[in-house]
Symmetry: C2
Subunit: 331 residues, 2 copies
């Protein structure tokens, strides 16, 4: 069934360049263990270019026993601009360390099924966002040759390294700010969109924790990302004098509904979001927000590279979320 009659092979490249197939392989796979002169390298590259030959990643990874592939399962929920920019940065930085970054969709796959599908690609490292992988999934990936499995999310997973995105800190930061602004009946929006639970639950817990024992109350405020849900919430506003609205987009939605209901921001209700999006600066009153800083792509790429090379160590935990309040006019 192999029918790639037009496809140039490494044998064709070797013939044109006047070298052995092994030499072609060393040059095109960037193997520096073998000394090959610059002119020979150049000849091989020129022949490959002329023929339009590209090495076969699959064959290469079979030969090597492992790949240079780093797998980043694509998030199932549409990622925000912050997260997208972070992922691009990580990809670029891993690319510069000579890894191939492949994003893999997990749509329609659940639990261990996803890990098994990822394992089929025999990645040398896997970055798993959110709650994408349990302890059994981690074990499957390691058994199939992954040298480093790194989770990025609010919780640790047994057997994996963790970049802990400590969303508690976001909630603590927002609640403390509202308390310092004199507010005592504080709501925390928990989106009805369940996919956000892994972030929103720890944010609520962090707010509760920050104000524990102060006499201020912290209430859970359910809100779906629809105008209808916001209008209904505003119409029966439970007398809270401040709200941490999960993020800037939910804050915009809620602030509009509260204003339409005749409530004054911040006099009647102080509102704070998170993410520091441009839209927050365009709202009136200008939206206060929690700025969230992710680690640099370079930092994460260097960490992954080290974990791949130092395989066998204990799982490491790194806390990576920086938070700070940007105080504007809505609080």
């Amino acid at each position: 069934m192999v029918q790639k009659t037009n496809t140039p092979t490494s044998a064709d490249v070797a013939r044109l360049a006047g070298v052995s197939r092994a030499t072609v392989s060393y040059v095109l796979n960037n193997t520096h263990a073998v000394r090959i002169s610059e002119p020979t390298r150049r000849r091989v590259h020129e022949a490959a270019r002329e023929l339009g030959y590209v090495p076969h990643a699959a064959a290469r990874s079979l030969r090597a026993g492992h790949s240079r592939t780093v797998l980043m399962p694509a998030p199932a929920i549409p990622a925000g601009p912050l997260h997208s920019a972070f992922l691009s940065e990580v990809q670029g930085a891993l690319g510069r360390l000579d890894y191939t970054v492949v994003q893999y969709g997990s749509v329609g796959l659940e639990g261990d099924e996803a890990a098994r599908a990822w394992a089929e690609l025999r990645p040398v490292a896997v970055l798993v966002p959110g709650a994408g992988c349990g302890p059994r999934g981690v074990a499957i990936l390691k058994r199939s040759g992954a040298r480093a499995v790194v989770t990025l999310g609010p919780e640790r997973v047994e057997g994996a390294h963790a970049l802990l995105m400590d969303h508690d800190a976001v909630g603590r930061c927002a609640a403390t700010h509202l308390y310092e602004r004199g507010r005592r009946r504080i709501g925390v929006v928990v989106p009805a969109e369940g996919a956000l639970d892994t972030c929103s639950r720890p944010r609520l817990a962090g707010a509760r924790q920050a104000l524990h024992g102060t006499g201020a109350t912290v209430s859970e405020v359910p809100l779906a990302y629809t105008e209808r849900s916001a209008v209904r919430l505003a119409a029966r506003w439970p007398g809270l004098d401040a709200v941490f609205a999960y993020n800037d987009e939910y804050a915009m939605l809620l602030m509009r509904a509260l204003q339409d209901e005749g409530l004054r921001i911040p006099e009647d209700v102080a509102v704070i979001g998170a993410d520091d999006l441009m839209l927050g600066r365009l709202l009136r009153p200008r939206l206060s927000t929690v700025r969230i800083e992710l680690p640099s792509g370079r930092y994460l790429a260097a960490l992954v590279d080290r974990l791949v090379r130092e395989t066998g160590g204990e799982p490491e935990v790194h806390r990576v979320l920086g938070v700070s309040v940007v105080h504007r006019d809505s609080t």
Copy 2:
């Protein structure tokens, strides 16, 4: 250097299930050409599960001469929510047709370099967004075994099938609406962010085309996605009585700056965006917008599947963008 001592192999599975390695391969690769009884299939699956064996995608694709991998190079610019949802849908639909969808970052790669990197993964089909690939890139991909190269964007690329995202139609739609609302001095925002040129240039051209010969003027309005740029533009507003602001986010930015400058929307300047984001309904006045509809993931997946199977035909062109005006209060 192969050192995966713990990794279970298909031979281990065969031993535990009491069948040949060929049978294991047929069952786990879903080959239906060979008749294998249900109990045997079940035994193989159970043995594989017990041992934690996962087939090796690379080995499988080498055996088959091609893979079931569809490559979707991840967009270099952060994708909007509309685009993200579309990509997820396509992934899901291709997965249900038994393809493996892999997103590949093109960060730091340019022109043919990107195509060469993609070709290394020996995809059976490649979906290329935007201007990610030229005619030479298409040829490289086809030579390395891709049976279908499909571009998604505003322009055709020689040798590739095209899902034409006809952004002219977005501009035509917006300009016609503004004209029908009685406006005659119409601006079209062209974002200073160059990555958006492939969409914004055709939108401007479409607006010009729609109003050609009507006596209305269409002017290019450069705007960067920063408050500073918007404030500066509004301060020296060139007397236009309407503006198509590229999309809803630029529209929000510009509308805020015009309002702060004392211009009334829509009395002095009518503003229309595009994308029909929720935020447009939250603005005051409520933002008019061009709703853009992408094809369903199922449609695109079925098309890719057909192109893979009917290899050898002429490049096909499908126009896939649906547009309609959502008229609210800003125009």
